[in-house]
Amino acid sequence: MEYIIGILLLISFVGLAVYAVRGGNLMMGMLIMGVIWTVLPLIGNTFATNPDFIAAYPGVTDISFVDAITKVFQSGPEGWGSVLVNVVFGAWFGRVLLETGIADALIRKAVELGGDKPIVICVLLSTVTTAIFSTLFGAGAVVAIGVIILPILMSLGIPKTLSIGSFMMSVGAGMYLNPVLSGQFLAFFLGEDGKQLITYDDPARLRWAVIGLAVQLVLVITMCAFTLRKKKTVHAWSASAARKARPGYVPTPALIAPILPVLLLVIFNVPIILGFIIGSFYALIICGRLKTFRGACRVLNKDFYDGVVDTAPLVGFLLMIPMFNKAAELCVPYFNALLGNVIPNNTLIISIAFAVLAPLGLFRGPFTLFGCGAATLGILKGIGFSTPYLYALMVIPSITMNVSICMTQSWIAWGVSYAKVSTREHLKKTLPVAWIICAIMQAITYIMFG
């Protein structure tokens, strides 16, 4: 019986993969999978006769129907509540950085240092973009920064494919440290009691995230230097949208605001939500946006609203993920029965496989947590790898392949259509670099957590 259920679970997994690759709505996909992966093990539990199998998983194979549906559909999303508030505060902080003009000013300062040297500009803008997106999140934010940076890069004769590729991969580099995105990944690792098994401020995870950011940024800069080495400059006569009015004066001390929450967390152990609040008020006060109480209330209200809207598309999807995760826990005995002897439980082999097959993180494939990788994680969890190792293993392709270069990511689709670059050209430029980053990071992950 356990084999039949295991096979049915695998078939549903393949079904999710096909659905995700075809661009199906993942929020609905996760909900359907949550239902299937709850019903199938419950049927299996009812008809299982092997006493060894039943005895090996106490609390799972003998779970009651009511306990199972409560665990999946109630405790799952409730447990994600703590992550959700981090996402909301992070989104608010991001909006503050945009509205005060700090992000814009940072970019312009970088450009004014680089002048007409394309390589210097690429290095500076990649670094600044990474710094900004180490806290900022949301498609709205990427578009708002992209419409400033991309015309600058192209006006300096930097090829369109490189402009888009370097910008989007720099955004992705920042995401390794981004508390909002990390919070969403951490939601995949909740314990029985709904508590996080790994936290944002876990020192080893934080060290790993900083290394990930540095590796991706260095590789992006190398890509720019390598592409621009022949210096076949292009002068293009082009026109873009009307110039946005420059934001008001931004004092120099305000420019540290983007990294303030992370610095406070890393150096002074200030909790991230307080970090976001301090960072937001610091930015608003320094930029003179809190002169009157009424004005302050209006600014706070508006920025909070815009920030929540920025992240809303992900929130719906991410509220379904805990259901799926909890359902996956019910499936562990069946996956183990079927795949326990097939999937190697050796971290070296798994790391090599993830490095070699990293492009499976593209197009919502089985290596991205924003696709059917959530199911892959469910299977791997059943084998018993450590949480930090599994976290790093899955997050690498999710960030570097999916968030940084994949066309199914909303802001990448925007960037590619903005510059009229074909998908093929975009992937040709970015995929080899992203693949190398994945391989390096998988090696580092193996050394740190393997």
Partner: protein
């Protein structure tokens, strides 16, 4: 007004939660007929177009308004001067013939170039010019409506080609041409990073193209008219930007005149 704003905010929130997309809202600009745009734009001064170009200059924040005026005047003079010099050197002011005599490879690509940035033509070092004919074909529809002579296919091709030829001239004379020799220091001592000003090259290329083809309007107006063929709202946005720059300049001019009268 307040009600519609509230409705728009509510719709954005609903859209966001239904996974429809991002909160990036493209502003809607007042609609203007292409005839009216062409007429108004043909009267815009070189200074205003120069300020429009500086609006796209990465180093814009480093210059005062007075410095910008000086740069704009010099860049325009440079473009005209080099148009005459090149025409004399190669014995022609026909852009096609000139390109041939300069040994340039002129390619014509039909690829549509719309998107957030509309591409008209490009020069790739050392000797390749590409004209994107999609925008020329699209411009013919507007030409029929507004009758702006600049949009006529032959004329338009010549203007685009001349503009790119200037960049080729710049490459060949980079040690002496103003747009390349004019530099600005970006770093503090003892460090140094002297940079050229990218928009000067574009301003000069427009003056070069106007002089070479004998047109009396600025080729910069094509930024608005050709974008109109791809995205009307984006073109209206550009038109509004140019008009507000003109209004700003007029206001400053009046102020200067009043000040002079007071001093007299």
């Amino acid at each position: 007004m307040e009600g519609s704003r509230k409705k728009e905010k509510w719709n954005r929130l609903v859209d966001a939660f239904s996974l429809k997309g991002t909160s990036y809202v493209v502003p809607q600009y007042p609609q203007v007929e292409p005839e009216q745009m062409a007429e108004e734009l043909s009267e815009i001064s070189e200074t205003v177009w120069g300020m429009y170009a500086f609006g796209r200059e990465p180093l814009e924040g480093k210059f005062t308004r007075e410095q910008k005026y000086r740069y704009i005047a010099k860049a325009n003079a440079c473009g005209r001067e080099w148009a005459d010099r090149v025409a004399k050197e190669y014995g022609t002011n026909d852009p096609k013939l000139l390109a041939e005599r300069m040994g340039m490879k002129v390619l014509k690509k039909k690829t549509p170039t719309g998107g957030g940035i509309v591409l008209f033509a490009q020069f790739v070092q050392p000797d390749e010019i590409t004209i994107f004919t999609d925008c020329i074909a699209k411009a013919q529809h507007i030409y029929k409506v507004c009758g702006c002579p600049l949009l006529e296919a032959e004329k338009l091709t010549s203007v685009l080609l001349s503009h790119e030829l200037f960049h080729a001239v710049e490459e060949r004379h980079e040690k002496e041409i103003y747009t390349r020799t004019e530099k600005v220091e970006l770093w503090r001592r003892p460090f140094s990073n002297r940079s050229s000003i990218v928009c000067l090259s574009e301003i000069a290329a427009m003056a070069f193209a106007a002089q070479m083809t004998g047109i009396e309007v600025s080729p910069y107006m094509l930024d608005v008219l050709l974008v109109y063929a791809y995205d009307q709202n984006a073109a209206w946005g550009l038109y509004e930007e140019v008009c507000s720059l003109r209004a700003e300049e007029q206001k400053l001019q009046e102020k200067r005149e009043n000040k002079n009268i007071c001093l007299d």
